[in-house]
């Protein structure tokens, strides 16, 4: 009996291992295809590529709708991330350090955007803010993305705060620091890794967001993902692959920076706490 049990336990590992490898293959192979086709010298989006060249990268970088869209995406990502942190940190402090009666409710509220489908949120924002309140689409997008990033900001900064001993702030107060000074000199440094992770994660999430950005785009302000989708519908050349590859490269750089400064384990530990 116990021999059978131990054998099934052993069997489970190879199965899990195989599934994991399969998962990686399914995830990575299509990306490799895209990257490979981006380097083609030919003019169709095809694998294997016809020859090797950087021409499509040149074209992608010079294509003004993409360029404008990248600038818009960056602008939106930076502002939305900043806003989400600015709102998220006080919420985190209230949840972890405050003496609110409805703490759990508050925490639940700020995490709910994680589970509401973004298309629904997008549609709601479109109806209420753009049509209803006549806000321009940049403002609406900014609000939408901020709401989208807020749970990340609260969770990830919360994870750093949960690790810090609450007695630290009390110690600072006892040593003569006003509440504000204790916050700046002790609490904020404790929050730093969380702020960096939340910032990077928020930036990437906003930059890559499709549903909200797609629903709320206009001719005047459009982020990169909708611009690329738009392009693909009209022409099927490798420029999109080149643009995607560039985005991918930039994301990898951000990920490496994140790993070097605070570590991925912490970032994702923060989300799944």
């Amino acid at each position: 009996m116990s021999a059978v049990l131990s054998r099934t336990a052993k069997l489970r590992h190879p199965v899990a291992g195989t599934l994991a490898v399969l998962g990686y293959v399914v995830m990575i192979v299509p990306i490799l295809f895209v990257v490979a086709t981006a380097f083609t010298a030919g003019s169709t989006l095809r694998f294997p590529p016809d020859g090797l060249s950087l021409r499509w990268f040149g074209e992608a970088v010079a294509y003004s709708p993409f360029l404008e869209a990248v600038v818009s995406s960056l602008e939106l990502a930076v502002l939305a991330t900043g806003l989400a942190l600015l709102l998220g940190v006080p919420v985190t402090l209230a949840i972890h350090r405050g003496r609110l009666p409805g703490k759990d409710l508050l925490e639940g509220l700020f995490l709910s955007p994680l589970v509401v489908p973004e298309l629904v949120v997008g549609l709601a924002l479109y109806q209420q803010l753009m049509i209803g309140l006549r806000l321009d689409n940049f403002t609406t997008l900014l609000l939408g993305h901020t709401a989208l990033l807020l749970p990340y900001a609260v969770r990830v900064t919360g994870a750093s705060l949960a690790l810090a001993d609450p007695a630290l702030e009390e110690a600072a107060r006892g040593l003569g620091a006003s509440p504000l000074r204790a916050f700046v000199t002790v609490t904020l440094p404790m929050l730093r890794p969380g702020l960096i992770s939340a910032g990077l994660l928020g930036f990437v999430t906003s930059f890559n967001n499709v549903p909200l950005s797609l629903l709320l785009q206009t001719r005047d302000f459009r982020t990169l993902p909708p611009a690329m989708l738009d392009y693909v519908q009209q022409s099927y050349d490798p420029m999109v692959a080149a643009a995607s590859t560039l985005v991918l490269a930039a994301t990898v750089v951000v990920a490496v920076v994140a790993e070097r400064t605070v570590g991925f384990a912490k970032i994702f530990g923060g989300i799944n706490r």
Partner: protein
């Protein structure tokens, strides 16, 4: 009489409907070491936190240097607190931790470093100023926390179970170390502990607490031989309780009960006849468990330490009929049986 360094006047702390500290009055004598001693949950930390200003009492007043400080925030009290977790700032070096207090007081850089150095010197860690707290052992962290609290030249030094995270040997060393720092600086110290040996060894003044109330205060030499009631006696290690012939209650420690042959004269001691139930070998002595009848005729279970050297007389073994002698001078007389003292309060007694 000089004003006490601090005083609590009718201080009560309630959490929801629960009374953690129940209308206590306490004076902290200046320049001395006072311990708050009591079992877990009796309100020691709560009392210390009210003194430090981290929580406001539900009612009552807190005086520091004779002035009302009940509503003064911690940063204006100028008290040095050492937390049980030490609460060293992990992102600062040891020296910066210690210089933090002077910095918050606007002491200029050079003077600040000098003071930090001085405080680290006091705890013998001047050479570790550049380390981060994480790179120190528990004992070293504890000293840094002490240095940090001392560096602000506090009116009171408050220590919440400062030794409980240290191993047994280090704990005993640090008792002497804290006493030395106290006498070198002349600081008024309030130390919270649930360890009676620690309190006896370190205190000028002991404050025994139970369930949010103070049950006895005094110098160890006064408290130890005359516990105020059965609770205090049990807490201080009196294991044996008996009723004397005249109806008075008495407590006696196992090391003061002598196990002798049946025919030994009492010689002024209280004598009880007993049967040895069990004998446990403990190196220097034997722990003898006995069934006896006390002078009031009640059956009692008693413990006696019996030395293993020859002077102590014949070695008892289980089943022996023996005589127990309790010298009058070693009996701690307790007030007549009163209600709450009877329930066995053993939590937190190690």
């Amino acid at each position: 009489m000089t004003t006490p360094a601090a005083a609590l006047v009718g201080v009560t702390q309630q959490f929801g409907g629960f009374t953690a500290v129940d209308s206590i009055d306490l004076k902290i004598p200046r320049g001395r070491l006072t311990t708050l001693l009591g079992p877990s949950g009796c309100g020691k930390t709560t009392t210390l936190r009210m003194l430090a200003g981290y929580s406001a009492p539900t009612s009552g007043r807190i005086l520091i240097d004779g002035e009302d400080a009940t509503r003064t925030p911690p940063e204006k009290r100028n008290l040095g607190m050492v937390f049980q977790s030490y609460a060293l700032f992990p992102h600062m070096t040891v020296a910066d931790n210690v210089a933090y207090g002077p910095k918050m007081r606007g002491v200029p850089g050079a003077e600040r470093r000098r003071r930090a150095g001085e405080a680290l010197e006091l705890v013998g860690l001047a050479h570790l100023g550049d380390r981060k707290p994480k790179q120190l052992s528990g004992g070293q962290q504890q000293r840094v926390a002490l240095a940090r609290a001392v560096a602000i030249r506090p009116r009171l030094l408050l220590l919440d179970e400062p030794l409980s995270n240290l191993d047994a040997r280090l704990r005993v060393q640090m008792r002497a170390e804290i006493r030395r720092i106290q006498s070198e600086t002349g600081l008024t110290v309030v130390l919270v502990t649930h360890d009676q040996d620690e309190a006896l060894e370190m205190s000028d003044e002991m404050v025994l607490m139970r369930a949010g109330k103070i049950v006895q205060t005094g110098a160890p030499r006064d408290v130890f031989p005359t516990p105020a009631d059965r609770f205090v006696a049990e807490f201080l290690g009196y294991e044996n309780f008996l009723t004397l012939a005249d109806g008075r209650q008495a407590a006696v420690r196992p090391e003061h009960l002598r196990v002798v042959p049946l025919d030994t004269p009492a010689d002024g001691a209280v004598a009880l006849d007993a049967t040895v139930r069990d004998v446990a070998y403990r190196g220097v002595d034997l722990l003898v468990t006995l069934d006896a009848t006390d002078p009031a005729g009640t059956a009692v279970r008693l413990l006696a330490d019996h030395r293993t050297d020859a002077a102590a007389g014949p070695t008892p073994s289980a089943g022996d009929r023996v005589r127990l002698l309790a010298p009058e001078a070693r009996l701690a007389l307790l007030p007549a049986l009163s209600e709450p003292e009877l329930d066995p309060v053993t939590e937190g007694i190690s």
